[in-house]
């Protein structure tokens, strides 16, 4: 009798444990319709993606979950989520380097409807005849300038046509900082929420110009234009709202706040920042990022993409189909296109794209129409996140103590770090 009771009890307990596992599968995951799990890279548009996903679910009944990784933690989150059974069905890579790490997980998009909508293979990640990723947003960055404040200081945007003229204006404003009540540059924060503006986006300029003049050799960079990188970085940090030593703790928010409150004239960022700056958007314009290299008279803004959609090839076929259907809906349906182009303010390289309301995008288009030559996005060729962190770290250290030795550390992180990280990422 006791034995029986014991067995029954043990059985119940064991069952309850197993059952905890077993019965949980009835959630959307295994429905015949499949489900979509999007691990989103762009924190600025988190809410809009949540809204769009909700609308899609309402329309079709297919559950769409959008999770946005904290900034700077996309790789970490993707890495841990991909190991799970309910892994993201839709994720992002930043270009060929990102693709190399995730190729095994990328579904070949050849022949899919959403690929059919793409404006051309320039916007796709194609390798060995297979389509692994689709760029879904084209973005532009440069130096955002507050025209109203410039005029108050007795300058105009038109004056700034090269690094030299930019420097003159910046240093003049900074010299009269107390009298004017604002500084030239907003803080170049090196906190994780802001450091990508410099270790990635600004570093793109010396890199791109080097690619143009020296050609591309996989695994090595020469650092030909790093002196120019130093010049512009000096300009940013020594003519800003705060002491350069404080930059390591300054955040993305700090710079936005300074701009909105009229404490600074210049702010290096891109089209995605329009929402954050909505309150003063009429005062703003975007000018090219001059670093004193190349044909500055014809230099345009920096335009490209580092956001490629990839569909998880290891998801179940129903989930893959559901994801493809969702993507197609995003770029063809009225709600979807409206969500992406209007709500999120994206320029999307798909056939049914709507013209952008984003002021910075319109300016970028006007500049291209005026014959300016855009600077491409080459930072997706940077060998790893670790490389960017190394450069960022060295930049921060240099900002706090601006010696030649500390700049040499930036050069070492840039040039030697490139070789080291390339070798680690591409083992022989």
């Amino acid at each position: 009798m006791k034995k029986l009771l014991a067995l029954v009890l043990a059985g119940v307990m064991a069952f309850s444990m197993v059952a905890c596992g077993g019965t949980e599968t009835e959630g959307g995951d295994t429905d015949a319709t499949g489900s979509v799990y999007y691990l989103n890279f762009k924190p600025e548009q988190d809410q809009q993606w949540q809204d769009l996903a909700a609308k899609y679910t309402e329309e079709t009944g297919v559950p769409v979950t959008v999770v946005t990784a904290a900034s700077g933690e996309y790789e970490t989150t993707l890495m841990s989520e991909m190991g799970k059974e309910s892994a993201p069905t839709l994720f992002q890579v930043n270009g060929p380097v990102g693709l190399a790490n995730w190729k095994d997980y990328c579904y070949d998009l050849t022949g899919t409807d959403v690929y059919g909508q793409l404006l051309g293979d320039d916007f796709a990640l194609v390798e060995d005849g297979k389509v692994y990723g689709l760029a879904y947003v084209i973005e532009t960055y440069g130096i955002i300038a507050n025209k109203t404040l410039l005029e108050k200081a007795g300058h105009t945007v038109e004056e700034i046509t090269s690094f030299e003229t930019l420097k003159a204006v910046v240093e003049d404003i900074q010299a009269r900082k107390d009298e004017l009540g604002f500084a030239a540059f907003s803080s170049a924060g090196m906190d994780g929420s802001s450091d990508w503006r410099f270790k990635t986006h600004l570093a793109n300029l010396p890199l791109t110009f080097e690619y143009e003049t020296e050609g591309i050799t996989p695994g090595t960079v020469k650092g030909t234009y790093l002196d120019n990188y130093r010049n512009i970085w000096d300009l940013y940090i020594n003519n800003a709202t705060c002491d350069p030593a404080e930059l390591s703790a300054k955040t993305g928010n700090d710079a936005v706040t300074e701009m909105v409150e009229g404490k600074a004239v210049f702010y290096q960022n891109g089209t995605w920042a329009a929402g954050d700056l909505a309150a003063i958007i009429d005062d703003l314009t975007m000018i090219p990022l001059y670093i004193g290299v190349g044909d500055e008279a014809n230099q345009g803004l920096c335009t490209g993409s580092e956001n490629y959609w990839c569909v998880n090839s290891q998801a179940s076929q129903t989930d893959i189909d559901a994801t493809l259907a969702f993507l197609n809906w995003c770029v063809t349906s009225e709600t979807g296109v409206n969500g992406m182009c209007k709500e999120m303010g994206f320029v999307i390289p798909f056939a049914k794209a709507l013209p952008a309301d984003n002021k910075f995008v319109q300016e970028a288009d006007a500049m291209i129409a005026a014959g300016k030559k855009s600077v491409g996005w080459n930072f997706p060729t940077m060998p790893s996140e670790e490389w960017k962190n190394g450069v960022g770290q060295a930049l921060t250290a240099y900002a706090a103590d601006q010696t030649d030795a500390n700049w040499d550390a930036v050069v070492a992180a840039f040039v030697d770090g490139w070789a080291t990280e390339y070798a680690l990422a591409n083992p022989a």
Binding site: A6, L7, A249, Q393, T396, A397, P427
Partner: protein, 283 residues
């Protein structure tokens, strides 16, 4: 009674054993095996022999974090135990306000490592910026001492409670006898109290030792390893290898590091237990 109980073994042992199997035994064995593999999930593991171990002994960041962890552990173990014991001695003297002091010193212990890390990050950065020193993200020294102050702040209260309990167990007649023999307070402490609280010392050193080596949350929140991985302790280094690095090979490296880390912690803890246990006297 044993017989009757044995019949009930499924009821008594099975739930814990099942969970223990899921939560520890299986992951541990898998982890051991995976340290010899290249993998991104448990299912696609490919055996590569000792390749992972060969790599990590050349990984400078790993060696550096080992050194950092050891020097952190030594200083914090000494600091925490000395201060905690000192406070315990003071708080067993029937001072005014003893209860309030005890309450206050213990409190930080209840707050989680992530929260503590951010609190101290703000505080330390503020001090550094006032005295014109580089902030935490650039300052290895500040990161090191910041971590020590933070862990001391968190753990002193806890160890203090254990020492108080130990001191209260020292029989009064022993202390009185010492006083009659003309021993000074200092002599009483070294010759009578200290040997009697050896078991508390064993426990406290053991706890501070394992806590220091396993420290993760505080490290992540306070410095996140900045600048340039120089304040990265072993646990964080392993986490970063696992999750911050993209590429097939990194998880294998991470798991191999974890195995070495595990061996290190186990060996040190048992060695310490053996060493201090042998000095304990039975009351």
């Amino acid at each position: 009674m044993e017989k009757a109980l044995k019949k009930y073994s499924p009821v008594f042992v099975l739930p814990t054993l099942l969970a223990f199997t899921i939560g520890f035994i299986i992951p541990f064995i898998e982890g051991l095996y995976l340290s010899f593999c290249q993998f991104t999930t448990v299912k696609n593991a490919k055996f590569v022999g000792l390749a992972n171990y060969k790599y990590i002994i050349t990984d400078e960041l790993f060696l550096n974090s080992f050194k950092f962890t050891v020097s952190f552990a030594v200083v914090s173990i000494v600091l925490i135990n000395v201060i905690a014991l000192g406070l315990a001695l003071l708080l067993t003297r029937n001072l005014k306000g003893t209860n309030i002091f005890r309450t206050v010193f213990f409190m930080p212990n209840l707050i989680g490592g992530i929260v503590l890390g951010y609190i101290w990050q703000i505080l330390i950065n503020c001090i550094l910026s006032i005295v014109g020193q580089p902030l935490l993200a650039l300052n290895t020294q500040a990161g090191y001492w910041g971590l020590i102050i933070l862990t001391a702040w968190q753990q002193i209260g806890y160890m203090m409670i254990i020492y108080i309990a130990g001191l209260q167990n020292v029989p009064d007649d022993l202390i009185e006898a010492a006083a009659i023999d003309g021993a000074t307070a200092w002599q009483t402490f070294w010759k009578v109290k200290l040997p009697m609280i050896m078991s508390s010392i064993t426990v406290c050193v053991f706890l501070t030792l394992t806590n220091s080596f396993k420290l993760f949350d505080q490290n992540l929140a306070l410095t996140a390893g900045d600048p340039g991985h120089l304040t990265e302790m072993l646990a964080l280094n392993i986490y970063q290898t696992f999750y911050a690095r993209a590429g097939m090979q990194w998880k294998g490296y991470g798991q191999a590091k974890a195995v070495l880390f595990c061996i290190l912690v186990v060996v040190i803890s048992f060695a310490q237990l053996r060493a201090t246990r042998s000095k304990e006297v039975q009351a």
